[in-house]
Amino acid sequence: MSERITRAQIPLSELTITPGSACQGCGAALAARLAFKALGPNVIRHGIPCCPDSVTQTPRVSTVFEGGGAQLTGTSRGLKAIGRDDVLAVGFYGDGGTYDIGMQGLSAAAERNEDIIVITKDNEAYMNTGNQRSGATPKYARTSTNPVGPRSRGKPRPKKNIPFIFAAHYVPYVGTASVGFPEDLIAKVNYMKTVKGFRMLIVQSPCPVGWRFDPAKTIEVARAGVQSGIWPLYEIMDGKKFKLNYKPKELKPVTEYLSPQARFRHMTEAEIADIQETSAADWENLVKADEMGKLII
């Protein structure tokens, strides 16, 4: 599992080329910047339709939306065939290409344990096309395809538990990270570079435009998500070994996370309580798993 690093150990080198086309305060742009600091330049960066959050000093390839897992597979196998498996095949994908339209291909790549790295910048909706709901959109969130009205309270169903789904493919590494916790994110990317096989990191990437908050608050929102337990930071090795990386003595209330975001502004007391309860219950399970050092799946 990852080894903690300090702020001083975060590499100074930058692989991003800016200014780019990201919105002000883009969480995904920061996710790319941090991840690529750790990945280094010996990478072929793979993309699929997504927000144009960043451009990096790496060769880039892209393919159809649903082809994320397949293109990483092809590159990885091709690199091996030409004797260049020193080069990393890295996908930097959104939640659409990971949770929904891209899930089949990624699941199959995980099942085959392809030697690839998947980094998902999770902004919890199809943001590039105007904030339509995805399987990553949390319960009650307002999106353009889950509006709030007499017949709808935002998204009716909870967010898919993608890390556990991929862990159940028994792959070497599945981790969660947040742009609000850069040392943890970079430590996890560092670790992923030391192992072979299917590695995945889901990075919480708050989106000021879609989640509807002041762009200056991107990190505040990220931090509140982690500190309230809504976005836990953990890692799962081989589908079994489990570590909860951030364990405060007491979680902050979920309202600290929900209030700054207008996508949750319509929520009633009962709905907020629902989120608080679910989140607390899920957190208990993670704490137990951490105590045992393993996941029961």
Binding site: C23, Q24, V55, P182, P215, A216, T218, I219
Partner: protein, 274 residues
């Protein structure tokens, strides 16, 4: 046929403004067409929209390349020479700015009028969204549309109390617009920054995205690297020798994240001079 180009910022309703103008024209028995120009509009990025008004159905689908009128909704974008590019000679320019027309520095053969639509919007709507506030001034200086038609169109987009507030803004800008006068500056000065970009990828200079600019006080700075680590645009660089941050301003979009995160309040977000 009259062709109009509007300049605004992503998220500020320039497209809605174009549709309100088109709707108002239709209210008066004219035909119209409102075209948004999709490119890299991101929150805060400058963008362009077009309107055509004619007595017969508008057939052309090409973009407006030589407008009769240019309307600028944002006071910072109003300082970019590009807003008057390709205007028909003798055209008309309406700028949202606190400066009077005599002090406008854009150059060329056109008449210019100004109105402080931002202040009007802040006072009537409580928000600096100027897409409706500027339309009263538009009606006055162009003589193309009656204020009543604009009001009818606004009611279609903003029902109820919101509509009334917007109409109040329209009435004020009708009364407060200054000009038009022939542009004082004759020659076009050099264009410095992008105000509309096609395609995605790396841009040249995003200074025009900023409404506020970060200013770092080196004396207060404790070298904790917080601002540096959290800048999404890699605009803040780290000077290892001095152990201080410095900003690549051409890459800074003015999001304010750095100032918000700095633990010792060493960064101030300063309003960009309009």
């Amino acid at each position: 046929m009259i062709e109009i180009r509007l300049h605004g910022r992503g998220g500020q309703g320039a497209v809605t403004a174009s549709r309100i103008i088109a709707t108002a024209a239709y209210e008066e028995g004219k035909y119209s067409q409102a075209i948004p120009m999709y490119g890299t509009e991101r929150r805060g990025a400058p963008l362009t929209a077009f309107v055509r008004i004619d007595d017969v159905r508008v057939r052309e689908r090409e973009l407006v390349h030589n407008p009769d009128i240019s309307v600028v909704l944002d006071p910072l974008i109003a300082k970019q020479q590009a807003v008057v590019d390709n205007l028909k000679p003798g055209g008309l320019v309406l700028l949202n700015t606190a400066y009077p027309p005599e002090e406008v520095e854009l150059g060329g053969d056109f008449k210019v009028a100004t109105v402080d639509a931002t202040t009007i919007a802040l006072e009537t709507l409580g928000r600096p969204i100027t897409n409706t506030a500027i339309l009263g001034a538009f009606a006055k200086i162009t003589g193309l549309l009656k204020v009543e038609s604009i009001e009818k169109a606004i009611k279609k987009y903003f029902p109820g109390r919101l509509g009334d507030m917007n109409i109040a803004a329209v009435k004020r800008s009708y009364d407060e617009v200054k000009g038009p006068i022939q542009a004082v500056v004759k020659d076009a000065p050099e264009q410095k920054v992008d105000i509309h970009v096609g395609g995605y990828g790396v841009l040249k200079d995003v200074s025009s995205w900023r409404v506020f600019t970060p200013d770092i006080d080196d004396d207060k700075c404790i070298g904790c690297k917080t601002c540096w680590i959290f800048c999404p645009e890699t605009a803040i660089q780290w000077d290892e020798e001095k152990n201080k941050p410095w900003i690549r301003y051409e890459a800074c979009k003015g999001c304010g994240l750095c100032a918000n995160e700095c633990p010792v309040d060493a960064i101030e977000m300063v309003r960009v001079e309009a």
